[in-house]
């Protein structure tokens, strides 16, 4: 039997079915964010500039917290989804397809979550009289999502390494080594990015930001974020997914 199947849609559907509960939690975070924005917009009317600044800071803080919580939840969901699935190890699709399905699913969820959050933030910011470009704000969320992709891929790799060491008593040691290695890798990634920012790729522009007709970014020394870290993030992500796929293919269950 040499017929081939395109397993990716099936694996994506499996991810969707497995993760429905987590998706609802993420949806809950977004619903709470909507409540925050509505409250903030109500509060913003008729306030002095100083009070508006404080209110804006509160909104920003809450949204940062929501983004962090959502990302953390997604990482936990990704880790839990791969447990007790050793029967899938004998399925015909190669390991990299399994990893890609998990990664695409998590990446798509992260993107939608971040973009909705960014859209809500933009709506909230307009309540303060801030003129922010919507496209720029959504672009900024995309920038953050791309930077988060290696972390998603590393979580997948970590999960496969847990499978690889699951039978022996070295699970704890591999866990420590992975965590230390990931921190070292992210430090290395950060330093490489810092050393080469704005050097060979066009900038990722800041969203236009005006308040009462004044361009708030006029004096900022750069026009946007560097794109080089995104390039490294994508390369690192691809490499890690390939490694995770290979570990999946070689793992014992």
């Amino acid at each position: 039997m040499n017929a081939r199947v395109n397993a990716l849609p099936t694996l994506l559907w499996l991810e969707l079915r497995k993760q429905t509960g987590w998706l609802m939690v993420l949806g809950g975070i977004l619903a709470l964010s909507v409540v925050v924005v509505i409250r903030v917009r109500q509060e913003a009317g008729g306030r002095s500039l100083n009070e508006l600044g404080e209110l804006f800071a509160v909104q920003f803080g809450l949204f940062a917290l929501a983004a962090f919580a959502g990302f953390l939840l997604l990482l936990i969901a990704l880790g839990r989804a791969g447990r007790a699935e050793s029967w899938l190890l004998v399925s015909v699709p190669p390991g990299v397809t399994h990893q890609l399905a998990r990664f695409f699913f998590a990446g798509a969820v992260l993107l939608v979550f971040a973009e909705v959050l960014a859209g809500l933030f933009w709506w909230g910011a307009r309540g303060f009289g801030l003129e922010v470009s919507l496209l720029g704000t959504l672009g900024l969320a995309l920038y953050a999502v791309i930077l988060g992709l290696p972390v998603l891929a590393l979580a997948l790799l970590g999960q496969n390494l847990t499978l690889a060491y699951g039978l022996s008593r070295l699970g704890w040691l591999s866990g420590i080594a992975t965590v230390l290695g990931v921190f070292a890798l992210l430090g290395w990634f950060f330093e490489l990015s810092a050393r080469t920012v704005y050097s060979f790729l066009p900038v990722w522009p800041f969203p236009a930001l005006r308040f009462q007709g004044v361009d708030l970014l006029r004096e900022v020394p750069v026009t946007g974020f560097p794109s080089e870290p995104l390039f490294y993030a994508l390369v690192l992500t691809a490499l890690v997914i390939v490694l995770a796929g290979r570990v999946w293919d070689e793992v014992e269950a």
């Binding site: 390494l161 080594a177 070292a184 490489l192 704005y198 020394p221 070689e250």
Partner: protein
């Protein structure tokens, strides 16, 4: 090399051997040893301390052959500055920030940049190469300037 460094390396080596033997997966073995190597190599790109030092703002570069340089750099990419034979030179792929230069006696200078905004004592310069003489205190303001080459002192040129 201190005893602690040797102990740390020994610990990592033991962990590497244990993890190498702890799985049948060759890729998992390689990943774990790679992770430990990353932990073991504290400065893979080299000169980490010098690099972070170079990012510090408000750096006083000191008195260099009669030229006192004080910089307030916001962003400087692929930045080099210092004495080149008899003149002081600053090169940068991308630069935003200020350089206050004081000279004891008039010094020739040359400045080249490809794009962006450069002000000399508040007066905008046009992209390209220009040269002249610095009489006393001069303030160069760079805003998103690209391919900057500033030289002060004997033999200063845009090259």
């Amino acid at each position: 090399m201190s005893i602690w460094t040797i102990l740390w390396w020994a610990l990592l080596a033991v962990a590497a051997i244990a993890l190498w033997r702890g799985t049948q997966s060759p890729t998992a073995k390689a990943v774990m040893v790679g992770a430990l190597l990353l932990v073991a190599l504290p400065d893979p790109l080299g000169n980490r301390a010098a690099f972070w030092q170079s990012l510090r703002e408000n750096q006083v570069e000191g008195n260099l052959n009669g030229v006192v340089v004080e910089s307030r750099r916001s962003v400087c990419v692929f930045c080099t500055s210092g004495m080149q034979s008899e003149h002081w030179q600053l090169t940068a792929r991308f630069l935003s920030g200020s350089y206050a230069l004081s000279v004891r006696q008039p010094q020739p200078y040359a400045i080249a940049f490809r794009s962006g905004r450069v002000l000399r004592d508040g007066q905008a310069l046009t992209p390209g190469c220009m040269s002249g003489t610095l009489e006393a205190d001069t303030l160069f303001d760079f805003a998103r300037a690209e391919r900057v080459n500033l030289q002060v002192g004997p033999g200063a040129s845009c090259r």
